[in-house]
Symmetry: C2
Subunit: 231 residues, 2 copies
Amino acid sequence: MAEQTVGQVHFSEVDIPTAEVDHREAVTGGLAASVRELVDATIRTTVDDDEIAAVRAELDLLTARLRTAQIPGPAGVRYNREGRSWGWGNAVIGQRNAIAPPLVIVHADDAETAHAEVTLGAAYEGPPGMVHGGVSALLMDQVMGETASQFKRLTMTGTLTLRYLRPLPLGPISIDCRVANEVGRKVFVEASIGNADGIAVEATGVFIIPSWAVMDEETGETEGWRRSAEG
Amino acid sequence: MAEQTVGQVHFSEVDIPTAEVDHREAVTGGLAASVRELVDATIRTTVDDDEIAAVRAELDLLTARLRTAQIPGPAGVRYNREGRSWGWGNAVIGQRNAIAPPLVIVHADDAETAHAEVTLGAAYEGPPGMVHGGVSALLMDQVMGETASQFKRLTMTGTLTLRYLRPLPLGPISIDCRVANEVGRKVFVEASIGNADGIAVEATGVFIIPSWAVMDEETGETEGWRRSAEG
C-alpha cells in the first residue's frame, strides 16, 4: 500500500482490482443498509425493557464478530491503479457508514452542476418532524465540496453560509448545486435543499484550492502530488 | 397525549412520570450506544464476505424484533407535566439516535454560554482521518440553537456562517458557544469547534424568535402557545 500526503490529508493506494472493490462495496454496503434500519428501529421501537436488553445482548455479540478483524482506524479515502477511488466511511456518501443516508450525488457532464435526492427518516430529525438544520448543512457541504473539486483537483471548504427560509419536513428531499464563479484559487459554489414545496435552505460557499495543490494543466499533477511522489 | 403546535412545529405532552422517562432513556439509550459500536464496526471490519452475510441475516432478525411494536413516525420532542422534555431522535443530542454522537451540551448558569466535548470516531469522517466539515456545522448548529433559545423561548436558525481555518482530526473535540448580542427578535450567537491544537472552525449565527413566539415577560407564555392552548 502506497501513501500519498497532500497537505495534512493522506490518500492510500491499494492494489485491489476494481471488480473486487465493487463486490466488497456491495457486500459491506448491504450490511450498512441493514444497520440503517436498526438505527431507525432503535429510535422508534416501543418493545419492553426486557426485550430491548435481550436484543442489545445479541447485538453486542454480532459487533464482536465484526471486530475480530478490522482496520485500526477510520476508512480514509483509497484508490487503486485503475483510478477507482472509494471513501466508504464518509459521513454523507460512505456506502459502509450507516450514519450516511447515503447520498448519491449525480454530477452533470460538465461537472459544473450536481443534483442529489434522498429520503430522510427519523434519524435526521431536529425540530419535531423536521430535518435537523445542521443535517441540511452537512449534506450540502458534501455536494458543494465535490462540485467545487470537479473530481480533478483538491479543494477545501473556506467559508459556508446558510440561509434558512423555512422548516424542511422529514421525507423526500433534493439538493441542487452549481459552480457560480471561479477567481484564482477560489471556487464560489451555490446550493439549495428543499422538497416538492420549494427551497428550504440556501447555501453559498467559497472553496479553496490550496496553493500546493494547484494543478499543472499539462501533466494534470499538483505540486503537492509531485512532492509526495518524490518524497 | 396532548398536542401543541407552535408554527409548523408539533410538541407532544405525554403523561409519563419523570422517573419513568429517565429509566426508559437509560434502557433505550444503552441500546443506541451498542448500535453506535456496530456502526463503527461496520465501517472498519475486514471479516470475509460469508461472515458479513451471516451477521447481516442475524441483524435483520433483531431489527424485526424491535419493529414488532413501534411509533409510526419520528420521535419528535415530548414533555411531561413535570417539565421534563426529551427529543430522543435528535440527530445531534438524541439519546436513542445512533447517528448522534450523542453530544452532551453543558450550558452555563446564565445560559449565555455553552460547552460540549465529545470524541468523534470513524463514522464522522470527511477528508481522510479528519472530521467532515459538515459534521462540524451540524454539531455547532445544535449547540448554537440551544444557546440562542436559552431554554425559555423558541428560536429558529436564520443564517449560519462557517469559517474553516484548518482540518480537524478525528478524536477528542470541543465546542464553545456564546450569545454575542440580541436585537429585537434576533439573537446573535458565536461558536467554535476545535481540539487541543486550537480552533478549527468558527461560526456565527443569527437565530430568530418568530413573531408568534415572543414571550410574555409576566406569564412566560408566547402568543403561539396561547393560540395552541386555546385552539
